[in-house]
């Protein structure tokens, strides 16, 4: 994983991790696998929920898990296309 990722790459990494874990993953697992600080995790998770890329669920013990929505799957499908467009215009931050 690159040390200098832009927002789009971080979003892609997080969504890929959620998908690869079979759509039921705890926030701490996302934080370690995506190499994020606690603050960054909270910010990005809030953003992903607001953008309806993921939904939050609570199990019987009250622990939070996350699942990809159709919009999240579509993002992963279109990621390379979006990345190509951004690279051609030098849009990384």
């Amino acid at each position: 994983m690159s040390s200098k990722r832009d927002r789009l790459e971080i979003i892609n990494d997080m969504l890929s991790i959620i998908r690869d874990k079979g759509d039921r993953i705890k926030p701490t697992q996302i934080m370690y696998k995506a190499n994020l600080s606690h603050q960054m995790l909270n910010d990005y998770m809030a953003e992903l929920i607001t953008k309806e890329f993921i939904i939050e669920k609570k199990d019987k013990a009250g622990k939070r898990t996350y699942t990809l929505t159709d919009k999240g799957y579509n993002f992963l499908k279109d990621y390379q296309m979006i990345r190509n467009f951004m690279q051609s215009y030098g849009l990384s931050e």
Binding site: Q80, F85, Q87, S88, Y89, G90, L91
Partner: protein, 220 residues
């Protein structure tokens, strides 16, 4: 002096069609960049979208007023009335196009600075408008300023291609280099109207490259 005086008579009508095509291509890029901004919240995508939207609107204004200009010339009215209408429509088209296009370029230039400081953005817009609208020779200043902005924007895209070695980045760098030469041709059209048509053809080549890049992006 505005665009109507620069265009060779055989080119009347063709310029309207070309400007409309440029508007559609620029609007498509603006829409896609906006979609990326909605997903990523990256400011650079927002500025790219805004700049192409302004550029698209500038071509729509130019196309519509050029069409009205040609329609008035063909109307069965007195020569005096025809001339006064033509002057008004030609000048309106030029001013609308000029302000929207140069603002679009200023936003695109700001994107290349890779800064989010609002003050930098506002000073660039303010200086652009002041340079353009204060004092005389607006026509000369517009094409000179647009050429300078396009030169710096092309420089950024060439650097982006050199850094990324991405063939798609090459298409965009070539497109903006052609736009730069296209605008330089408009500047030369003051002395020879043929350069006005050449400028449009260079613009057409540039927008075709932008469209080809977009097709390759969608093709994955």
């Amino acid at each position: 002096m505005t665009t109507g005086y620069l265009s060779p008579t055989w080119f009347y009508g063709y310029d309207v069609v070309l400007e409309f095509i440029f508007a559609i291509i620029a609007f498509t890029i603006a829409g896609f960049a906006w979609r990326i901004y909605r997903i990523s919240s990256q400011d650079s995508a927002k500025y790219l979208s805004l700049s192409f939207l302004l550029i698209s609107l500038s071509y729509i204004a130019q196309s519509v007023f050029n069409l009205l200009f040609i329609s008035k010339l063909n109307e069965n009215i007195s020569v005096t009335s025809k001339i006064s209408w033509a002057i008004i429509l030609d000048q309106l088209g030029f001013y609308f196009h000029m302000i929207l296009f140069i603002l679009g370029l200023a936003v695109l230039l700001f994107m290349t600075f890779k800064t989010t400081k609002e003050r930098s953005f506002l000073i660039l817009i303010a200086l652009t408008l002041v340079a353009l609208l204060v004092y005389e020779s607006i026509f000369f200043k517009y094409y000179l300023l647009a050429s300078i902005y396009l030169g710096f924007i092309a420089w950024y895209f060439i650097e982006n291609f050199i850094a990324s070695k991405n063939p798609k980045a090459f298409l965009i760098s070539l497109a903006f280099t052609l736009l730069f030469f296209g605008y330089f041709n408009f500047f030369l059209a003051i002395n020879n109207e043929m350069f006005y048509a050449v400028g449009h053809f260079l613009e057409l080549a540039a927008y075709v490259l932008i469209l080809v890049n977009f097709y390759l992006v969608l093709k994955k």
